[in-house]
Amino acid sequence: MPFTAWSKVVKEPVTIKDPLNREAAPRYRGFHDNDVDECIGCGTCEAICENEAIDLVPVDGIETKDGDSGLRPKIDYGRCCWCALCVDICTTNSLRLTNEYKWIDTDPDNFRFVPGVDKKDWYDKKDGWRKPEPNYEFYGLKRVEMGELHPEERDDSFIEMIQGYSKEQAEAEADRCVECGICTATCPAHMGIPEYIKAIRNDDLEEGLRILYDTNPLPEICGRICTHKCETVCTMGHKGDPISIRWLKRYIADQNPSEKYKKILETDKLTKNGKKVAIIGSGPAGLSAAYYLSLLGYDIEIFEKLAEAGGMMRFGIPEYRLPYDQIDKDVNYILSLGVKIHYNTTIGKDITLEKLNEDFDAVFAGTGLHLGRSTRIEGTEHKHVYQSIELLRKITEGEEIHVPEKIVVIGGGNVAMDITRSLARLQKIKYGKVQVTATSLETEEKMPADREEVVEAREEGCVVNPGWSPQRIEIVDGKIKGLHVVQCLSLFDETGNFNPQCNMKNENFFEADMVVESIGQGMDLSYISEPTKEHLEMGPRGRIKVNDYFQTSVGWLFMGGDTIQGPDVIHGIANGHKAAVGIDNFLTKK
């Protein structure tokens, strides 16, 4: 009987008494909130938004810096559909949706705001939509593992240990990139990183190579030994592993055969403009300058002190990291563009700088840091105390070096690791076992060397024992017995100057027959002769002052690379490129 429905009339109404203040579910997708300190303005939210509801706008109080674009998402509630894809894809997990849902306004232009910046009264709500957990990602967080030789395979030879990506691996790794482009600012050469990663995804490696050569003429080299500052700021690094940008670069370079380079890069015929530029040193800066200048039509002559091109890249980096044939590939391509190179020619000795000025329209000096620095502690005068840079060069040149059974390396940088691991290989070959100890002032966390370098050194049997300040080398009967160290507490004082503090009570002693110092390199500016030197303005710390385009106060002399910006291949390349632009400006204006 339908009349039974009337029994309901005595029941209490089920209406919500105060619907205006009703809290939504804890997972409700309401209005946006953004943790502006966490957010890095990568723009991934903008990219995923299917409604084009998100803009990236500059915000007061947030500076643009490495790893942070200084932009913050501004959301148009005239577009948003509250799908929360922006939250799910957020690379830093800074964006979220609160469970607030009431926003009434009479002016339609008001419905735009920058979450977290513009004052809204829902930021204190803790509930709301966050990225679901676990295993819910819109991209891979884990890096594609790079194949490398096992320690036992590699520790007695200098063959390359990193194997490089296969096509599938490279595409999978490239797939993780969200194309935000924040890395581009951090890369000293400002390479088009998202663009070439995209080329890998599209399997268009020729396009990739073109993008690489736009800003970097040494991709094979950089693809192996670049300090990859880009990877430190990679947005993917906030939640997972950063993209292996370096390996991807190497993948592009490796996959393109050198004989095709000219065709791909359309450098078959370069029109010459008749001007000549001399370049001192065939390191990264010199080669980069040479490449970009020759693209512009200049005749280039390189003067190289040593017998082979490559500078520090060849003589400072062991072969297992950077095989020489790969250096040759990059260098030969540059030389094939008509660049002349004079080996074994030392400026100042074989030819003077002034002479270069007379013969050429401009000179670019890309000389490296070839002088080792010494700790100057007691005992460093001993003949078996070596500079790492010198040893590395000798190893490259194939010279026989002294390899005793026990070695201590002072230094925690990449060069120290290079020499440590090179010596370990030599020991292994010679004795079948490894007894190399590397020590540094910096503690384990603060060691300037790349993390994987330290790990691999340990895998190969080296002892890395950081946090010690060397005191003196014990020499008994003219033979080195070992190195006395004390615990190092801090490196810098409050003002930021180098001023190590040690705990003298905590001593240690490393036994050794040989000590290698690897605490930095110095530059050799002896080739600059007096007449020129007089006109050179010097900057702080004994460096030569250059303008934005690496032009010294002399005008015709441009300098770049390690001597100006410290030891780093990618900086050298960037300097060379910029100097090339500067030289071009300088010469076309003249």
Binding site: L20, N51, G78, R79, K102, P108, F111
Partner: protein, 240 residues
């Protein structure tokens, strides 16, 4: 009314209709909607222009509020008795049933649904409007008695929402009809809709619910915008 007067009036009306309207008519005009002469029952010949009538080219009159306390009192009554037109123009109308049913029960706030535009004061534009619906919405809006209020729901009415790139839906409602209250959300929850009604009440009580007069004042501008996108002005009889 004499024949001459009638003809004068018709001519005057025709002059007022704008030229671009006529252009649009040219392509989309049903034979029965054509401008033509008909014989009236008394034998006189009159010109009729059905499109002109459907189009409501006649400028609405601006109706002045009463003065002082009386208007305040009337505004209070208007605010406490809002009759909403039951015309679900978009997907937001799925949240209307919860409002008229036990869960949210908007009747207790003086908000009720009415089935015909003649008896409604408030019009909920529940989301996107396709051009086809916009035509009906405009006609409905013009049929509603003044003072009338528009509540616009969701992103779609503010800046196109999800359908910002659709060829069929408009992006900004305020270009075509004046809107009193916007409620953010896609779609807004019933609670937000109730809050919107509260805001509307507040506005009415403050005497700010005069958008109908604004429409009358800026009629030419609104009509020009409407004509830009609505090409086919044929309107079926008795269709709101």
């Amino acid at each position: 009314m004499s024949e001459k007067d009638m003809n004068d009036k018709v001519n005057e009306m025709l002059q007022r209709s704008e030229t671009n309207v006529k252009k649009a008519e040219k392509t989309f005009i049903h034979p029965e909607d054509e401008e033509r002469e008909v014989v009236a029952p008394d034998g006189s010949i009159i010109k009729i222009n059905p499109i002109y009538d459907y189009f409501s080219n006649e400028k609405p009159t601006e109706e002045k509020p009463c003065s002082g306390v009386i208007e305040k009192f009337l505004n209070w009554a208007r605010a406490e008795s809002i009759w909403v037109l039951g015309f679900g123009t978009g997907c937001g109308s799925i949240e209307i049933p919860p409002l008229v049913t036990p869960r949210f029960d908007m009747f207790r706030f003086g908000v009720q649904m009415r089935p015909t535009p003649r008896q409604s004061n408030a019009f909920i534009i529940s989301g996107y409007l396709s051009v086809k619906t916009l035509k009906r919405v405009i006609r409905t809006y013009e049929q509603m008695p003044s003072p009338k209020y528009i509540l616009a729901l969701g992103s779609c009415t503010i800046n196109g929402g999800m359908y910002y790139d659709s060829y069929s839906t408009i992006n900004r409602l305020d270009k075509y009809i004046p809107v009193d209250v916007y409620i953010a959300g896609c779609m807004p929850r019933p609670e937000a809709l109730l809050a919107g009604f509260m805001k509307l009440k507040e506005l009415i009580k403050e005497g700010k619910g005069e958008k109908a007069n604004e429409y009358a004042r800026n009629f030419d501008e609104y009509k020009a915008n409407q004509k830009k996108i609505i090409k086919d002005w044929n309107m079926p009889d008795y269709n709101w």
